[in-house]
Amino acid sequence: MSKFRKKGGKGLQKINTSSLPDIVFMLLFFFMVATTMRETEIQVRVKVPEATEVKKLEKKSLVSYIYIGRPIAHVARMYGTEPLIQLNDKLVSEEGIPYEAIQDFVLFEREKLPEADKSKMVISMRVDQDISMGKVDDVKQSLRRAKALIINYSAKKEYRNQGRQR
């Protein structure tokens, strides 16, 4: 009997927690490095369409965003409910085709890139799926004029059953 008692005799051994801070710090640093803070506040409502052929955008630093959609509630009070264009973080308020606003935007964003990457700039268009193409065509024409030719139609991955895949 005494044999068994010896083992559990002095109560439970406390788990050594001195390495816990290290583990937590490791996680912390991982998230600090992986984090990209959302620096733009999206002021238009965008629900991107779904597509099967989507690809990931490789280099985030090369990408600038154009959002097109109907404004969210508190913005709509100022600008009305018609679809608006948002360039990274600022809204385009002018009427008609926004050639100049987009040209300035492209030049500004291109200036931020290192010399070697200037030709690789990607404009990602995050457009609401219910917006009419007129607005999108305007933006595309402006981008052509500004010589920003690589564009990305932002879309979510759609999974179809295999029968459809040919």
Partner: protein, 211 residues
């Protein structure tokens, strides 16, 4: 005097502090990577350049129209979106050498020598490449979602063709080709020549009223 040693700092709260920071970063992190369909816009035409009428053989063009009520018309007939992919594949391959489908042109494409057992030793692929072009036109009132779905079907058709070719010759998925590897990059460029992404978008025009 011996008792005047520096007292040890209590490290018990260190974990708590780290946890607090960790949770803050967990909450603020957005790990979303943007996904989408990447396309190349045509450069803006030179204003001094005169409009030259390019004569394109009618059989080499597949006109895809999307009207203001999101109806799709392909080569003169109304079509469901899901049938477009097969139609496009037929258009680009012209398997039966039909008179009204694009001309096939004898072409040589250089692949890396020895990369495939189905190619001759010098890696030169000889065969027929389609001269077909797809012309996509939309109205200003077409919804963007529908437009992108059509774009998607066209891209899907070309990707399927490329993928089949890549599987047949190189026993690999086209999307798995690694562009950092010079041989695989050459393969990719070759396949792009084999099946070109010939999708042209016409200059936007308003058919029936703005927006």
């Amino acid at each position: 005097m011996a008792s005047r040693e520096t007292p040890e700092v209590n490290g018990g709260s260190l974990a708590d502090i780290a946890f607090l920071l960790l949770i803050f970063f967990l909450v603020t992190t957005t790990m979303d990577t943007d996904t989408g369909i990447t396309r190349l816009l045509p450069p803006e035409p030179d204003p001094e350049q005169e409009d030259v009428e390019v004569r394109v053989n009618k059989r080499n063009v597949l006109v895809v129209l999307l009207n203001r009520s999101d109806l799709l018309m392909v080569g003169g007939e109304v079509m469901d979106r899901l049938a477009l992919k097969d139609k496009t594949i037929e258009f680009f391959t012209n398997p039966l050498y039909k008179e009204d489908l694009p001309v096939m042109e004898e072409t040589e494409i250089q692949f890396p020598p020895g990369s495939s057992s189905l190619l001759p030793e010098d890696g030169m692929w000889r065969g027929e490449v389609s001269k077909g072009v797809i012309s996509l036109q939309n109205d200003r009132s077409t919804t963007y979602g529908k437009y992108l779905q059509v774009q998607n079907e066209l891209v899907a058709a070309v990707n399927t063709l490329r993928n089949d070719f890549c599987n047949l010759y190189f026993d690999k998925d086209y999307s798995e080709l690694n562009t950092n590897n010079p041989i695989e990059e050459e393969i990719q460029l070759g396949i792009r020549k084999r099946y070109k992404m010939n999708i042209s978008e016409s200059e936007p025009k308003s058919i029936g009223g703005r927006n």
